[in-house]
Subunit: 284 residues, 2 copies
């Protein structure tokens, strides 16, 4: 496994790989790898000749009051995990290499970036789109792997790939959960012992929504109200948003009569967690 | 010579070309080709195995009050010229193919886009950066050819290529001029018989600046004043801007003691023309 920090060195290596006609799968990460990331890497390993992962805590997607500094960086273990999964290349740039002095170019996926998580994290998705554009240009993968847990991110990246004609196929893989349903996230390490059980309330609220829909409820507002009531029972839970939106424009839907995304962001203590569930109309 | 309108068909062809290990040179144009464009194509022909040109009047870079509709589109002649220069591929998409419904992603080269031409053409360089990003992704060239006449455009595209890590080398080739010094532009056809001689005043003003500098003048403000006086003598000339800026950030310079760009935009009647001159410090 090669670990490369220098973008230009990366470019040369990738050129070599492509000259050999190898297909390239790419898994972008901020490190602190968990079983969710590993499921992406495993799928990439299955589908491609060459697997590249990146580990880069991208400052452009953190707000000034957010957790950029304390975001976990267990680099040694991350590299160990990558090696175990037979990753061919880990790209490990520093901030200076990615955002050198004079950097002024940003990719904006308008409309989709200012709702849901974008409302409480202004600039976040601009940072995501920009760094993904950079990484796609650096690595030139045939396939890009993202997790469904970050549903809005996946939808925004898909939109960017389509709009800017990136020659890559996006694969979005299911959220990996631990016992109790908590979606795996690198930020789960912030939760203390009393918060951990409370954090399962996101999945419980989604499960409640699912069962209401299965029972025939189609009124989005009522489903959201029931979810909010459930979450409010947890002492340390503060709701950022609970929403039911369409999958294309992320506009709120009133009636569950089309494919839609039920998504929520909840703070447990100081830790902001997100989760979501896709409802496909055929299932109703 | 292949003429391709469909982006997906283009993608398949380009993949084929790359699989053969051919180098690709790309000349993006809005058509109405003149000797300036042809100089780019000729250079691309010299330096690459495969030459692609695009002809697309990009609506995203026109303001609502600008000349999108009346912009010249002599397609038949353009294709003839491309064929003569042994272009391998002309990409000729329509608006719908480039900006399908739901399109929301834009590339912004901040700071550099809001000065000089960007002041009187808000959104123009966002449109340029976005379409160039799209075309680079569609064509994946090794080398991209632009003209020095659009100096700010070249600087902005260079910045975007660097910031977003596009794996392409930008080549900026000298402005081609007709007798009297008028820089070739597809918009010159808008000039009537009495305006044409007046339009040479842009080049005359630049030549004056050059001779003042050669005589030892280093005060940017004085040079600009002299240029403006010269232009003001032409009846139908209205100055948009005359500026002397650095080549990196396009900030105004006070003293000509570094590499800089002398640039101007002047309306001759209703036709907005631009021109520029790079001063390299070594020459002074």
């Amino acid at each position: 496994m090669k670990v490369i920090r220098d973008p230009q060195k990366l470019g040369r290596l990738i050129k070599e790989v492509k000259r050999k006609g190898k297909s390239v799968g790419f898994v972008p990460t901020m490190g602190a790898l968990h079983a969710g990331h590993l499921s992406l890497i495993k799928e990439a390993r299955k589908e491609n000749d060459f697997v590249a992962a990146s580990i880069f805590v991208n400052p452009a997607q953190f707000g000034p009051a957010e957790d950029l500094k304390k975001y976990p960086r267990p680099l040694k273990n991350d590299l160990l995990l990558c090696r175990k999964q037979k990753v061919d290349l880990v790209f490990l740039p520093d901030q200076q290499a990615m955002y050198p002095q004079g950097f002024v170019t940003y990719v904006n996926v308008e409309e989709l970036s200012n709702r849901l998580c974008g409302l409480s994290r202004p600039g976040h998705f601009r940072g995501v789109a920009t760094v993904v554009a950079k990484l796609l240009n650096l690595i030139g993968p045939d396939r890009l792997y993202l997790g469904q847990k970050d549903a809005q991110q996946a939808i925004i990246v898909q939109r960017m790939v389509k709009d800017l004609n990136f020659p890559v196929k996006l694969r979005v893989l299911p959220t990996v959960r631990q016992e109790g349903g908590l979606a795996l996230s690198s930020r789960n390490v912030y939760l203390n012992a009393s918060q951990k059980p409370q954090a399962t309330v996101l999945f419980k609220a989604l499960s409640l929504a699912r069962s209401l829909i299965d029972q025939g409820q189609t009124n989005a507002e009522r489903i959201i109200r029931r979810m909010k009531e459930l979450i409010a029972r947890k002492k340390e839970a503060r709701i950022d948003y609970v929403a039911i939106v369409d999958l294309e424009k992320l506009n709120p839907v009133k009636k569950i009569d089309q494919d839609c995304l039920i998504c929520l962001a909840v703070k447990i203590g100081k830790t902001r967690l997100i989760d979501n569930l896709v409802i496909t109309h055929e299932k109703n």
